[in-house]
Subunit: 275 residues, 2 copies
Amino acid sequence: MRTLAKTKRLVKKVKANGKTIGFVPTMGYLHEGHLSLVRIARRKSQFVVVSIFVNPAQFSPHEDLAKYPRDMKRDVALLRKEKVDLIFCPSVNEIYPPDYKTYVYVKKLNRLMCGASRPRHFQGVTTVILNLFNIVKPDIAVFGAKDYQQGVIIKCMTRNLNLDIKIIIGKIIREKDGLALSSRNIYLSPRQRKNATILYQALRRIRYDFRQGFSDPRRAKTMMRQMIEKKNGRINYIAVVNKNTLSPVKKLGAGTLIALAVFFGKTRLIDNTIL
Amino acid sequence: MRTLAKTKRLVKKVKANGKTIGFVPTMGYLHEGHLSLVRIARRKSQFVVVSIFVNPAQFSPHEDLAKYPRDMKRDVALLRKEKVDLIFCPSVNEIYPPDYKTYVYVKKLNRLMCGASRPRHFQGVTTVILNLFNIVKPDIAVFGAKDYQQGVIIKCMTRNLNLDIKIIIGKIIREKDGLALSSRNIYLSPRQRKNATILYQALRRIRYDFRQGFSDPRRAKTMMRQMIEKKNGRINYIAVVNKNTLSPVKKLGAGTLIALAVFFGKTRLIDNTIL
């Protein structure tokens, strides 16, 4: 847990020693999903940095920034167990000093799917990630697969801006009953928690039907919508798109991404699968 | 003159040898102003890179991208004389491949002065400069003082994004009669060329009056406007602002920036002075 200036100095030293740096940016309140990413970074690099920073720029004013769950003590203990070399927890003021004015965005991709209802979200993500990249100077950076669109956008930014960083996307880690791990799951009431398992069931159902020869994206969406609404899920979007371009597909096929965002009460959950 | 991939490889080698890199990004059609920046880079670093890239992203559709003057052969000869180590002339397609989507902007500062009438201009500048910075990985980068606002914006971006690059701003180099050197001066007819000297005369007049105790920004603007319009200059803006924040000042003082953009015919010229 270091300040910005100390972190820069340490990174410089690590680089000078010729070690490769693996980086996992997080918003903290860590779960097994995060830890699976840390293990990938551990395996693929010599010096592992994990950042914990709840990034104001990626929340809209009406969203859950203030009540976003935090537990720094527990996070640090978990990361020590994973033999993380540096935990970087900058203050908001270090990343966004009062005269902060610089933003990065990936056009088009940032307006689709999650970006349609959260118009500033991905600009906030790319801005903070570029900033953290410039501080941590990683050789590889590992991101979760649950926010699949985020991964696509960060890969695009990294490629477009000629950053020499390999972006690795982990796997979605799930509870035994299929619910994707998320720091936001603690918001769910017991009943919502139970209902929320429908998300993965709906995704699996389409995957199963696809293997049986089913290929109609519109019917897939309708089926999922019906399954989810029966469990009181309020659908934000269901997307059936090409996994690289995020453009809607006319037919389900290998490489089709099925992604969704659904509210249970006030809690917005996302999940996805690739056919 | 190298391709992007070759340039990256060479930069890596130079870095590995522990040499400091000085960088001067240009749009080519070089004049003594550019060369003065190259000499600063030469003095302050061990390996000098000059890029020549007419950046489409900083031109509006109605502007002079297509007819912007180019003379690569002459440019290369001039830079060789200055003992530049690497001339980097990427193609448009290397910097902006067909799926290019990532843009960087510095809010507020990019809407003032030149940004008011050229709304996408500075986003184009910051985007290409960040991109070139990531390729060339300079320790210092040198920019001209004629586009003073550009320097302020790039300094802000560099600071905000935690880039470890020292930004140096050169001096405005002028013809004997005071006209600031610009690649666009060749657009001027002989009469316009003669009239355009009024820009520096107007700036000097205010500087002189300021030294005599004059301090009213509104009257300064009116005086300059009258001088310039008498010479058929069509004023785009005259700004009397704080040199760091670019906010209008209520009184002229040390550190006040007087900046202007004026059309002579279709040619837009800029100039400035700091009190």
